[in-house]
């Protein structure tokens, strides 16, 4: 991580789970064999074919931070984490290529018996009535505080849409796990969370709003605009992009 000053290119790779396996698999298919250096539990690695690339194994959310701060040159992480971590993402990072795995949608979901709430506009109406009746704002449980705020303020991450119905009469309660259980537990009225198949939502009696898909996220190869780039590091970047066919 600290080598961004030297002439090696630092590539950050997810340190565990499906995301790591899929990343290593994709790079291997492209002829770039990523392996750990030293201890199997360690976080440093290398690319067997290209010694000038240094690999850092870190968690996907840490990768977003490292990209933002220029501590690595390239990284593999989800667009959800990038946009959540970096409010001015376009200024600090550049998505070089979607990688075709790690698919997850960040969505707004409400209890499915709210038959009066289908859209974000309905949600705002219901939230205003809720405030009048309960004297408090509707609570949204999420770990995506930044994305939620921007989406509820009317911002749309889909460049073709740009703006949409805003929801204002709410407050966020931060949730660090089992978010989908918050409405039933009475700690929030609705949630913003990721889903891949929707089955967990269904099991918890929740339904995605018709215009409530905040982001269709997947793993991406991402470049840090805040890292320093030497001519060699730029060449290495082009080599990786070419090898991945991205």
């Amino acid at each position: 991580m600290s080598d961004a000053q030297s002439d090696r290119l630092v590539l950050a790779v997810p340190s565990k789970g499906r995301l790591m396996d899929d990343t290593l698999g994709l790079f291997a298919k492209a002829g770039l064999t990523i392996r750990k250096v030293g201890n199997e539990r360690g976080y440093r690695g290398e690319v067997a074919e290209v010694p000038a690339i240094e690999v850092a194994f870190i968690s996907a959310s840490e990768i977003a931070h490292a990209i933002r701060d220029g501590k690595v040159h390239l990284g593999v992480t989800g667009e959800d984490l990038l946009r959540e971590t970096i409010p001015d993402m376009e200024a600090k990072a550049q998505i070089l290529a979607p990688l075709g795995f790690g698919h997850a949608d960040v969505i707004v979901a409400v209890p499915n018996f709210w038959i009066d709430v289908v859209s974000m506009a309905d949600l705002e109406e219901a939230a205003v009535l809720y405030r009048r009746r309960h004297g408090t704002r509707m609570r949204v449980a999420t770990k995506y505080m930044g994305l939620t705020r921007r989406f509820f303020a009317g911002h749309r991450f889909d460049a073709a849409v740009k703006t949409g119905a805003a929801v204002t009469m709410y407050r966020i309660v931060e949730s660090l796990g089992a978010t989908e259980g918050a409405p039933a537990a009475g700690t929030a009225e609705l949630i913003v969370d990721i889903t891949s198949t929707g089955s967990t939502l269904k099991a918890n009696g929740l339904r995605i709003l018709a215009d409530g898909v905040i982001l269709k996220s997947q793993a991406n190869l991402v470049l840090s605009r805040t890292a320093s780039w030497s001519p060699q590091q730029s060449r290495l970047r082009d080599d990786i992009v070419r090898a991945l066919g991205a």
Binding site: P111, I115, Y130, R149, G154
Partner: protein, 399 residues
């Protein structure tokens, strides 16, 4: 003025702080002379009050943290709410007239880093007047004192922008429509896009857009509350929908009734919608604007004269205080963006910092106190000066 955190640290040189202190001594002396009691609310405030009042727009810019006991706290993002809490702590359920002045640091997170005009910590010098006998006079006094304070600090040229959310409120009351439309229009008022969509919707109601059958919606609309709740319960059981959480079937029934009634209601006339739209476009010198609004409304047969009379009385009172408010720029839309204002609003801008970086401003907020306390209404008006911006403007834009 780069957008870096270093910008903040550069700005906070000892000399700059000394100059800010001198400036605040001048302003606080003016406030005290006018009979405002200097108060010093706590810097650390309970987060809950702020989060529930100001919403996520400002929360995203508030430093929220937990103390070792787990209590959620925040660094105050403004001084109005802390001043209200101080008033409530002191007076409980009574609501005596009371006037506070304060000067202190507030904190706002700047997502892309702070700079000189948008620092993450800055000083607010302000005044709040609670439960004054004569609201118009209190409005005029707050405006006059704010102007006097920035003048005394050395600001020679500035612009004054004014608005009055009370006139909009009166207009909505005077135009014939179901009360739930007023609730919605009032709520969406602060978001121009959503407001336009609402207005369009009540002029041209389209379909409900719900997933339940139209026929069920019609039945629910006609039914009394208990019948409607039983119908919804039966529908949920038949469709395997789980009834859970704090939101109740009563609320769903009431909301659906409103949606159903909207579809049956005679739509708002195009003329009425046009009048609301035309009003919100009024931009003129304050005195001329009143004439425009009088002719707009009387042509539509709508009477908002009480609100307009109050507005003109305020102009006259301000003149007595030495402020020629008639020349200020009146904007009917002005004040929409602020969370809790309900009536007169104003802001002071300078050519040094530009129109989008106000040096100070304030307004009337008659409902904030009851929202905080859950008890009775305490009408209030206040203003705050952004000390760092004022000093910058006085120095022509350079620190």
């Amino acid at each position: 003025m780069t957008g870096t955190a270093e910008g903040d640290e550069l700005a906070v040189s000892a000399r700059w702080i000394e100059a800010l202190d001198r400036q605040s001594v001048i302003m606080m002396a003016i406030f005290a002379r006018a009979g405002f009691e200097p108060v010093a609310p706590a810097v650390i405030q309970p987060a809950d009050v702020f989060l529930d009042l100001i919403g996520e727009d400002l929360r995203g810019r508030t430093y929220v943290f937990s103390d070792p006991s787990g209590a959620e706290l925040c660094l105050r993002p403004d001084l109005t709410i802390p001043a209200c809490r101080l008033y409530l702590a002191r007076h409980g359920a009574e609501a005596p007239a009371s006037r506070f002045a304060y000067n202190g640091v507030v904190f706002r997170y700047q997502p892309t880093g702070g700079n000189l005009v948008r620092p993450r910590e800055f000083r607010q010098a302000g005044i709040e007047s609670f439960a004054a006998d004569d609201p118009g006079r209190a409005d005029a006094e707050i405006l006059a004192l704010s102007v006097e304070a920035v003048r005394a600090a050395g600001l020679r040229a500035f612009k004054l922008r004014v608005g009055d959310l009370g006139i909009f409120d009166a207009l909505l009351e005077a135009v014939e429509m179901p009360d739930r439309w007023r609730v919605r229009l009032r709520h969406h008022f602060r978001h121009p896009d959503a407001f336009r969509r609402q207005l369009r919707h009540i002029v041209q109601p389209n379909t409900a857009g719900l997933e339940i059958p139209d026929e069920l919606l019609r039945r629910l609309t006609a039914a009394d509350e208990n019948t409607a709740i039983a119908e919804i319960e039966a529908y949920c059981a038949a469709h395997d929908l789980t009834i859970t959480g704090t939101r109740t079937l009563e609320e769903i029934a009431a909301h659906l009734k409103g949606i159903g009634e909207d579809l049956q209601e005679r739509p708002l006339s195009k003329e009425a919608a046009g009048l609301i739209d035309a009003y919100l476009r009024v931009e003129a010198p304050a005195r001329a604007a009143m004439a425009q609004i009088r002719s707009l409304t009387s042509a539509a047969g709508i009477d908002v004269s009480a609100a307009l009379d109050a507005y003109e009385a305020r102009i006259a009172l301000a003149a007595q205080e030495g402020i020629e408010m008639g020349d200020a720029h009146f904007s009917a839309s002005f004040g929409r963006a602020f969370a809790y204002y309900t009536g007169f609003v104003f802001e002071i801008t300078s050519s040094a910092l530009g129109d989008t970086t106000p040096i100070g401003g304030g307004g009337r907020y008659d409902t904030l106190m009851e929202t905080i306390s859950g008890a009775g209404r305490v009408p209030a008006v206040g203003a705050a000066i952004h000390s760092e911006r004022l000093l910058l403007a006085v120095r022509g834009g350079r620190p």
